[in-house]
C-alpha cells in the first residue's frame, strides 16, 4: 500500500509536468487547430534559461547556506528564476509564432505541421550548438528536503511541483474564464471569422495564446529540472510527445481535459515503470495514444464532430 501511494505521488508529480506542457498544446490547438510540434522544445529552452540565469539571480538574492533547511531567500530566488524563464519563453513562443506560423495561417494544415516539425528540429539542434550536446546539471534552486509522513516520504521538490502547478492552473483558469482576453481566446477558438467581426484582433489573441502556453512549458521545464537535475537539448522530445498524448487524452482543445490527461498519463507511466518494467516507460504513452485515437478519437471528454458535406 505504501509503495502504491509512493508511486501515486511520484506519478502525480510527473503528471503535473505533462499537464503544464499539455495545456500549451491544447490552447494553441484551440485557436489555430494545429499541433505545435515544437512545444516540447520550449520546455527544454525553459530549463536552460533557468540554468543560465540562476547564477545571476543568486548574485542579487544569495541563497541560504544549508540546502537541507528551508530558506526564504532560496525560495524567492527559485521563484525569480522560474518567472524569468517563463517570460523569456513567452517571448520566444510569440516570436516563433510571428516569424514562422503567422505567414502560414491559412495554408493547409499539413504545411503548418511540417513547419512545426522543422522548428522543433531547429530548436533541438541549435540548442546542441549553443548549449553543447552533453547533459548539464541543473543547480539546486530550492531547498532539498524530504518530509516523512509515516513510512511515506514526500520530497520538498514534489510539494513545490504540486503547489506551483495548482497556482498556475488557477491563474490560467482565471485568465481564460474571467478576463476579456481569455473570453476572446475562447471566442476565437470557436469561430475565427466571427471573432474578427467582433473587432477582435486575432493576431494579438493568437500571440497571447502562444506566450501563455510557452510560459507554462517553461515552468514545467524548471519544475522538472528541480526533480531531475540533468538537462540536455533533446530533453523536450519525449515529454513533448507525451504531453501531446495527454492533451489528446483529455480531448484536444479542452483545458481541464489536458490537466486530467496529463495526470492520468503520469500516474499510468509511473505504475508501469514500478510494477511492470522500466523498459516500457515510453511505449505506454504511445499505446495509450493509439488506443484513445482509434477508439475515442475526440479524447475522453470530447464529442464527435462530423465533416460537413
Amino acid at each position: 500500500m505504501i509503495q502504491f501511494l509512493q508511486q501515486l505521488i511520484n506519478g502525480l508529480a510527473l503528471g503535473s509536468i505533462y499537464a503544464l506542457i499539455a495545456l500549451g498544446y491544447t490552447m494553441v490547438y484551440g485557436v489555430l487547430k494545429f499541433i505545435n510540434f515544437a512545444h516540447g522544445d520550449i520546455y527544454m529552452v525553459g530549463a536552460f534559461v533557468g540554468l543560465y540565469v540562476t547564477p545571476w539571480v543568486w548574485k542579487v538574492i544569495p541563497p541560504g547556506q544549508d540546502p537541507s533547511k528551508f530558506n526564504w531567500n532560496t525560495t524567492a530566488g527559485g521563484l525569480v528564476v522560474m518567472l524569468i524563464s517563463m517570460v523569456v519563453c513567452a517571448v520566444l513562443g510569440i516570436l516563433i509564432e510571428r516569424l514562422v506560423y503567422r505567414p502560414l495561417r491559412n495554408r493547409p494544415r499539413l504545411t503548418v505541421l511540417i513547419t512545426a516539425i522543422g522548428v522543433s528540429i531547429f530548436l533541438e539542434n541549435f540548442g546542441q550548438y549553443l548549449f553543447g550536446a552533453d547533459p548539464k546539471s541543473f543547480p539546486d534552486i530550492l531547498p532539498d528536503r524530504t518530509i516523512d509522513i509515516g513510512d511515506l516520504s514526500i520530497f520538498m521538490n514534489q510539494i513545490v511541483v504540486f503547489v506551483t502547478t495548482i497556482v498556475l492552473l488557477v491563474a490560467l483558469r482565471y485568465i481564460v474564464m474571467k478576463t476579456r482576453m481569455g473570453t476572446a481566446m475562447r471566442a476565437l477558438s470557436y469561430n475565427t471569422t466571427a471573432a474578427s467581426l467582433m473587432g477582435i484582433n486575432n493576431d494579438v489573441i493568437i500571440a497571447f495564446t502562444f506566450g501563455l502556453g510557452s510560459a507554462l512549458a517553461a515552468a514545467a521545464g524548471i519544475l522538472n529540472a528541480i526533480n531531475y537535475p540533468s538537462i540536455d537539448p533533446l530533453m523536450g522530445i519525449l515529454p513533448g510527445i507525451k504531453a501531446f498524448v495527454a492533451a489528446v487524452l483529455g480531448g484536444i482543445g479542452n483545458l481541464p481535459g489536458a490537466v486530467v490527461g496529463g495526470l492520468l498519463l503520469g500516474v499510468l507511466e509511473t505504475m508501469v515503470v514500478g510494477y511492470i518494467s522500466p523498459m516500457y516507460r515510453d511505449a505506454i504513452a504511445f499505446a495509450a495514444l493509439i488506443f484513445i485515437l482509434l477508439f475515442r478519437p475526440n479524447g475522453l471528454f470530447g464529442k464527435i464532430e462530423k465533416e460537413k458535406v
Binding site: R180, Y190, T193, A195, L197
Partner: protein, 235 residues
C-alpha cells in the same frame, strides 16, 4: 454613409463579383436580394474585410476601408452579422454580448446598452447565463443582432437574418431591425433571400445576379417590377 464602387472579388479562378456599385445613404435601410450564389454574402464579406477585394473601393463615412483588417473596420462603426449567425456556442449569452463590445473601453456605458438589448429581445435576458449553443435558431439570431449592437455600430450589415427561423420569429426580428433603424438611427444594409419581406422594410433595393447588379430602384418600385416578381417573389 457607405459607398461601394466597382467592387471585384475572385475566389481562385472564379469571379464572384464583377464590379458592383452600391450606395447606402445614412439612416436608411437598403436591401440586396438575389438567388443563392449570386454574390450577396460575398459583397458583405468584402465590405467587412473578411474576404479581400481584388479591385474597387469601399468608402465608409468618407474613409476608404477596402484595405483595412476586419477588426479595424468594426472599430470604425461598421458591424457585420454574418450568415448562419456565427454566435459563440461555447460562450454564455452574456459573454457573447460582451464580446460584441470587445473594442469599447467605456465599460460604464455597457449597462445601459445591455438594458436596451434585453428590452428589445427579452428572451436574451431570461437566458443570459445559459450557454449560447443551447439557444434556438431564432434566439441565436437575436443574440447575433444584440451582440452586433453592443459594438455601438453606426451601420449594421445583416446577412439573411431569416435563415432557418420559424416564420413568426422572422416577423419579430424584422420588426426589431426597423426599430433599431428608427430609434438608434443605425443605417442597415440587409441581404435577404426572402425578397418580399426585405423589400417591405427597406427604402431602396439592389438585385444581384451572378456577381452583377442587374436592377436597382426604390423598394416599392422593385416590388412591382415584373422580373423581380417572377424570380424572387414567387409571383
Amino acid at each position: 454613409m457607405l459607398q461601394i464602387r466597382d467592387l471585384h472579388v475572385n475566389y481562385g479562378a472564379i469571379t464572384a463579383l464583377h464590379g458592383i456599385n452600391i450606395d447606402v445613404p445614412k439612416g436608411s435601410i437598403v436591401t440586396l436580394i438575389g438567388a443563392n450564389g449570386a454574390g450577396k454574402s460575398t459583397t458583405l464579406r468584402a465590405v467587412s474585410g473578411i474576404t479581400r477585394a481584388q479591385k474597387g473601393s469601399i468608402v465608409f463615412d468618407g474613409e476608404e476601408i477596402v484595405h483595412l483588417a476586419p477588426h479595424k473596420i468594426v472599430g470604425r462603426g461598421l458591424c457585420h452579422v454574418p450568415e448562419g449567425r456565427m454566435i459563440f456556442a461555447n460562450l454564455s449569452v452574456m459573454e457573447n454580448l460582451l464580446m460584441g463590445a470587445y473594442r469599447r473601453n467605456d465599460r460604464k456605458a455597457f449597462g445601459g446598452d445591455l438594458d436596451y438589448i434585453f428590452d428589445i429581445f427579452p428572451r436574451l435576458k431570461e437566458r443570459k447565463a445559459q450557454s449560447a449553443g443551447t439557444l434556438s435558431g431564432g434566439e441565436q439570431q437575436m443574440l447575433a443582432i444584440g451582440r452586433a449592437l453592443m459594438s455601438k455600430p453606426r451601420c449594421l450589415m445583416l446577412d439573411e437574418p431569416s435563415l432557418g427561423i420559424a416564420p413568426l420569429l422572422v416577423k419579430t426580428i424584422f420588426e426589431k431591425i426597423v426599430e433599431v433603424n428608427k430609434n438608434l438611427g443605425i443605417t442597415v444594409l440587409l441581404v435577404e433571400q426572402n425578397a418580399n419581406l426585405a423589400l417591405e422594410i427597406s427604402q431602396f433595393g439592389y438585385v444581384l445576379e451572378t456577381g452583377r447588379i442587374i436592377l436597382s430602384d426604390a423598394s416599392a418600385k422593385l416590388r412591382e417590377d415584373p422580373q423581380v416578381k417572377e424570380c424572387y417573389l414567387g409571383g
